[in-house]
């Protein structure tokens, strides 16, 4: 193959000419030219189908309805700690008590983390297996800074955020040189390296298997202790709102548009005179930095870090949340994050309910394994609810409005 190498100044921009099409003047658009191309297309296919579901009620009225529901939802959520609502089975305690608030905060965080991941997979069609790296960078970064420099919380957070931004920019710049499954694998490799590093406990900095504890010296008192769970809850809510706003902003902006177009057809974007690489990198970095932000606040909530937060497992958990909610939809990511977390946390309780003991072993054994229930549920969603929860809701709505008409 003696096609000329790409030019020097803009090596990245000419990449597809090298990677995808060098050996053959392929017709773009026949998406499955090579095995690789077909891989690259898969994430976008996923996102695409969900769009079908979305295109229905995306009317102005539908939009306003969604936003109105969102605002009402936020107000209700903000008031929860002041109310005494019991949801037996779902919440461990009435809503004003720390038990419920802690669980709800966890849900809100996971929703925010899922949202940051949505930016990658839902908007830009980037299937990353390494998103946990940035989440972990946030929580570990902040914990380490608090431990070593003794700075107050806010400057420490700023510092950790900058570090995470640099990390995601650096790794993103490298990983985005490839697409599709290779991209997934390179991100996985980076995250794996981070995970190994954290577990190795270099210089005692990361605490190895055991993780780190939050050094509360620099943290304001109103964020420490169970008595202040309510404040942490509001912090979680605020984080979710901030992340949601930023994600919406990026998604609706030029970069988001171009990233979505890249997801569909990268070559076509270039031919229009736009730069896929930059748009993808921007989305990647914003996604990574937001994940780090969530990770930091998560540290405050849990008063510590564990290596799991940097593991591929955690990324997969985020993926599961996004898929559960419906790929391509912000509300889906939020919903998926909340519901997954509720299930994950509460199934343990459910699986120990004495009622199960009465069942024969064939039923009893699997049902008392929370992961079994979760895994099965997930399979069922993927099989029978394409478009996830949001897709299902929209189908229902579609059916409903058809009936009305």
């Amino acid at each position: 193959m003696n096609t000329q190498p790409t030019n020097t100044s803009e090596a990245m921009d000419t990449r597809p000419a090298d990677a995808g099409t060098v050996s053959a003047p392929l017709e773009p658009g026949t998406e499955t030219q090579t095995g690789q191309a077909s891989q690259a297309g898969t994430a976008s296919k996923l996102a695409r189908r969900v769009r079908v579901a979305e295109s229905g009620p995306r009317t102005a009225r539908g939009q306003i309805g969604i936003w109105a529901a969102g605002i009402v939802g936020v107000i209700i959520l903000a008031l929860l700690p002041l109310l005494n609502i019991s949801v037996p089975g779902l919440l461990p305690t009435p809503t004003y008590q720390p038990g419920a608030l802690q669980l709800l905060s966890l849900c809100l965080f996971m929703a925010a983390a899922a949202l940051s991941y949505h930016l990658l997979i839902g908007v830009a069609g980037l299937l990353s297996f390494g998103h946990a790296l940035y989440f972990g960078a946030g929580s570990y970064g902040l914990a380490i800074i608090l431990n070593t420099f003794g700075l107050p919380l806010l400057p420490s957070m700023g510092l950790a955020l900058v570090a995470a931004l640099l990390l995601s920019a650096l790794t993103g710049m490298v990983a985005l040189r490839v697409t599709g499954i290779p991209f997934a694998m390179v991100t996985l490799a980076f995250a794996q390296a981070g995970s190994v590093l954290v577990r190795r406990n270099p210089g005692g900095a990361t605490g190895g298997e055991e993780g780190l504890s939050l050094n509360t010296a620099g943290v304001p008192d109103f964020l420490v202790g169970v008595a202040n769970t309510r404040n942490l809850y509001w912090l979680a809510l605020l984080t979710l709102i901030v992340v949601f706003a930023l994600v919406s902003w990026v998604q609706a902006g030029r970069a988001g548009h171009v990233a979505a177009a890249v997801r569909e057809n990268e070559l076509r974007v270039r031919v229009l005179g736009l730069q896929p690489y930059r748009a993808k990198l921007l989305v990647f970095v914003v996604g990574g930095t937001l994940a780090a932000l969530v990770g930091m606040v998560f540290l405050l909530l849990q008063s510590g870090t564990v290596p799991r937060q940097v593991s591929a497992d955690f990324t997969i958990t985020l993926l599961v949340m996004v898929v559960l909610g419906g790929v391509g939809s912000k509300w889906g990511a939020v919903l998926g994050g909340v519901i997954y977390t509720l299930l994950d946390q509460r199934l343990t309780t459910l699986s120990q309910s004495p009622a199960l003991d009465a069942l024969p072993p064939v039923l009893h054994v699997p049902l008392s394994e929370p992961l079994f229930i979760l895994g099965t549920l997930f399979i069922l969603v993927v099989l029978f609810m394409p478009g996830g929860l949001v897709g299902a809701i929209q189908r229902l709505r579609g059916r409903f409005s058809k009936k009305q008409a």
């Binding site: 003047p25 392929l26 026949t30 030219q33 090579t34 077909s38």
Partner: protein
């Protein structure tokens, strides 16, 4: 030209949907056991979808399909094909990662595939046997696609815009090949190139909005009827000669 031979294909009230949206709305027609039947209509009226529905590539929601006297509307695609249906899809749909030879080998259903016929028709493909089909030019891919259907003995050929993107000379050759094939096997042909239709087609059916709006035993008669072509195809007057003529297209004078 009414004939009393049983039609090779009869379709009654066929409906079909893609992802839940109805694209074929109650189509009924018959394909005689000989000759070429053209399917005409403007872009997006459902020509391709009708063909796909016949062999189950999109979901059939109602209606009956009889191939050579046997009901096939419930059969899966591969079984319909094995009963002797050849299909040439609209977008060529060659397997781009496979070589030309592999594409053709994959299509061989019979014990004695008609390789010679194909090689004689498309010598270019013999030269390029080991080239990845995805790297072929558009026209070459079209040849692969056609060849795949011509390799086997069939009871019926379904051919969707076979001349699209072919050089005029090849268009002629393909048209001749189809005419040749039509001597032994009936063909249901979707075609936008009206001169080719005029040259090849015996009967015709015209679709509009997912329905058959006109049926004729003589495609030529239909094409000659300016009112009809204007109404159903939007064509002012169909050029008399083959598509390779040098006349300005309508409105194309400069």
């Amino acid at each position: 030209m009414e004939n009393n031979i049983r039609p090779i294909l009869s379709v009654e009230g066929l409906q079909a949907a893609i992802d839940g949206s109805q694209v074929v709305e109650s189509v009924s027609f018959q394909v005689p056991a000989t000759g070429i039947t053209a399917v005409l209509g403007r872009n997006g009226v459902g020509k391709t979808s009708t063909l796909k529905a016949l062999i189950g590539l999109i979901t059939r929601t109602a209606g009956t399909i009889e191939l050579d006297g046997e009901r096939i509307e419930k059969l899966p695609t591969h079984k319909i094909i094995r009963r002797g249906v050849g299909y040439v899809p609209e977008d060529r749909e060659v397997f781009s990662a496979l070589s030309v030879a592999e594409n053709l080998r994959l299509a061989e259903r019979d014990d004695s595939p008609r390789r010679a016929l194909v090689e004689q028709l498309f010598p270019d493909l013999v030269k390029r046997a080991n080239q990845a089909a995805g790297s072929l030019s558009g026209g070459q891919q079209q040849m692969v696609s056609l060849a795949r259907a011509l390799l086997n003995e069939n009871k019926l050929l379904l051919v969707d815009e076979p001349t699209k993107g072919l050089a005029p000379k090849i268009v002629q050759e393909v048209a001749e090949a189809l005419a040749e094939a039509a001597k032994t096997v009936p063909i249901l042909l979707v075609e936008q190139n009206l001169p080719v239709v005029r040259q090849l087609a015996d009967g015709a059916l015209v679709l509009s909005a997912g329905q058959v709006v006109h049926r004729t035993d003589s495609a030529r008669q239909f094409l000659d009827d300016e009112a009809l072509t204007q109404r159903y195809l939007g064509v002012q007057s169909e050029p008399a000669a083959h598509g390779n003529g040098h006349q300005m297209p309508a409105g194309g004078a400069r």
